[in-house]
Each structure stands twice: as structure tokens, then as C-alpha cells.
Amino acid sequence: MAGPSNKNAEKGGRLRTWAVRLVCVLFWLAVWGLAARAIHARIILVGPLEVLARLGNLAVTGEFWASIAISLGRVAVGYVSAVVLGVALAAFASRFSLVRELLAPLMGALKATPVASFVILVLLWVSSRHLSIVIALIMALPIVYTNVLEGIRQTDAGLLEMCDLFDVRGWDRVRLVYASEVLPYFRAAVTLALGLSWKAGIAAEVIGLPDFTIGEHLYDAKVYLDTPDLFAWTLAVIVVSVALEALITRVMGWAMGRWEARP
């Protein structure tokens, strides 16, 4: 039984881990600051304090938040579509080997092709406003599909035999056995795909230049050699990415906990 002393020890261990991480981050921030001072050329490298100050200035403007919301919204649409489509295709592929064989080269190509090639190609098909939606979908789809399919294929044959015996079939089998077995694979897939979709979506915006997006601001920073802006927008991208990953990890952990703990 876990007593109060065990809980205190666990809490102490966690605090120590966070303290070590913080020290490491502070160390690299110090290195960054020292390097900026040594180079002493804002166009090449700006220090962390100046970047934070610039980010602070941007954060009080409506355009900053509108750009983040527009970029995030479009990437989210592509990402969610990829998750839904990936799960559906994996379910079909696990059931019908022809579907699996047909999709294998397509998913392989999606994984291997450079994102820049897709961006240029997709720009010929859709307007730049919708570019990041398609790119986020293309990035996330093979990851979700592959992981969920693997989860389904790794489902314990003994459990399926047990279901046959107890006559648990169809949707009941999916929600009681497959969902339980595939959930860890799904969780890993959505967490990994989220970061990739977000970064690729922003990269697509830099090429496609849709209005009021993070990508457009990054492009402007490059054109006007505005290094503080470049760093500030990049920092904003990183913060959003970390926040999204933490959010999805928490939400998935909470959902899995509820799923597992139900009586």
C-alpha cells in the first residue's frame, strides 16, 4: 500500500526532475545569450531577452493572436481529418487485405516524399488558404494509419478466440477488445502526428503565404531581415507545439484512465 511517505518521495522525485530540466534550459539560454553578445550582430543572432521582449510586444497585438488562431485552426482541421481517416482506413485495411495492399505504396510514398514537394504540388490544386489543411492531413495520415493498423494486427489472437467462444461480435468486439488493445498505439500516433502536422503546416504557410498566418509573418521576417521577429514567431510556434502536445497527452491520459477505470 502506498503510504504518505511514498507519496512524498514520489513528489520529491518529480520536483527534482523538473529542477534538473529547468537548470538545463537555463544553461542553454545562458549559452545563447553569451553567443549573441559575442557575435554582437542582431541580424545574425539576437539574445533571448530581446526575443522575449519582441514576443511580448507581438502578444499585445490582435494580429498576433489572429494569426495563431488561423494557422492553428487550419492545421487542426487537417489533423483531425487525418485522425478520422487514418482510423477508418486502418479498420478497413485490417479487414480486407486488398485494401491493405492497395494502401501500402500510397502510405509509403506519403511518408517518404519531402514536405516541400507536397507543398508545391498541392499549391497547384488548392488555394493557399487551404494549403496547410492538406499538408497537415498528409503528414498525420500515414502515422495514424500505420500505428492503428499495427495495433489492430497485434491484438491478441487468444482474446479474439475468447470473443468467438463467448459470442462477442461486431461492434461489441470493437469497443471492448480492439479499442482496449489499440488505444496505446492510437495515443502514440496522435501525439507524434500532432507535432509533425503543426510544423509542416507552418512550413507550408511560409511557401504558400496565406494572409494572416504565422507562416506569412515568418516569411516577412526573412524578407526584411528582421531576426528578432523571426525568433519571436519561432518561439510562438514552439510554445504552441509544446502546449498542444501537453494538452493532447493530458486529454488522452484522462480519456484512457476513464476508459480503463470504468466498472
Binding site: L159, M162, F166, S180, E181, E260
Partner: protein, 215 residues
Amino acid sequence: MSAGSHQGCVDLTLALQDVCKSFGGLRVLEGVTARFEPLRTHVLMGPSGSGKTTLLRLLAGLERPDAGEVVRGSDVRMGMTFQEDRLCENLTATANIRLPRPRLSGEALERFLAYEREAMAACDLSVDARPVRDLSGGQRRRVAILRCVLAEANTLLFDEPLKGMDEKTVEAVMAFVAPLVAERTVLWTTHDERDLRFFNDPILWRVEGGRVCAC
């Protein structure tokens, strides 16, 4: 080695007719003919590797005979405790026990949950929110047994269900399970003759050398 197959209009026949089964070059069952009387307890004994598990799997429809016929009555509804626990690792004990009854909802679900809790308490299992992957081997075994006996089944197959359990736990589990299985067809494989004390007038079978015979 025969017994009645019909109880009124209910067909609970369970039989093997000239069944042969091999795995690779290993012949496990050879021309086995046996009828298992419905609503009785049948205890199948025999050394390791003699074909007890294969016999249960053939009756359950999980294996096909190489030759001969397996006869299952149209009203037979099966439950089974496998040699392995075969539990959904990420689900709680109650969710695993309830797995053969997936459509329960509302009041029926509440009633069954209360019954499950009673059953678990009787088998010395605590009811909590832990997934079964966090349970010990003995606890998992008891969950697998309860899943089988609480299923809506009239024919229960047990493949060495008490293996690895300590004496005190066995007594507690069987005090709960024995009355529940008394009015169903039960096929119980074991190495341990002491298991016989849990059943009232069981039919004994010997499985050895590819043959199955009533003792």
C-alpha cells in the same frame, strides 16, 4: 460412454464421433467417441500433453477435427476458462467479467454490477478501478473463472482452472463457483484428484494415449 442428449425440447448435446486430431506429426486424439451427458459435471483427467485441452477446444469449436465429427446441440451456449487468463489487460476486473454480456445497460447493468461485486467479494477479490494488468496471477485467474461462470452459458468448459492457486483461495472460489455450475453442463480438466471433492457425483473421464474413456 453415452448419456442423454436432450432435456425436453432443449438440445444440449455435446459429443465426439470418431474424432482424430493431430498437430504436425503428433497424433493427439485417435478415433475418439464420447457423449457428454447434459447438465452433469464431467471431470477429465490425464497426464500433461494427453489431449485434454485439445478435446475442450474441439468441443468449443476452436479446433476442427482432422476426421470424425463434433456434435454440439443447437441450444448449447458456451463459456470457457482457458489455460491462459485471456483478459483484456486495460479493463477492470468487473469489465472483464462482464465481457460476455456486452449489451447490459440501465437497471440490468446495475443489478449485474452488484452481482459481480458480490461474486468478487466471495472470491476474495477487491473491487476497484485498477486495470487487470495490475493484478497478481492468482487474482487474474479468479477474474477469468468468474467471467466464465457469470456468463449466460449452459455449458462451461474449464481447462485446469485452479492451477497455481493456493489452497485457501481454491476453497473460497469453489464455495462460490460449485453451486453456480451445478445445474449446467460442465467439462473440467485437471491433474489434481482433489478437485473431485467440489462436485456432486461427477462423471470421470480418462484422457490418455489418444483415447478418451469414462472411468
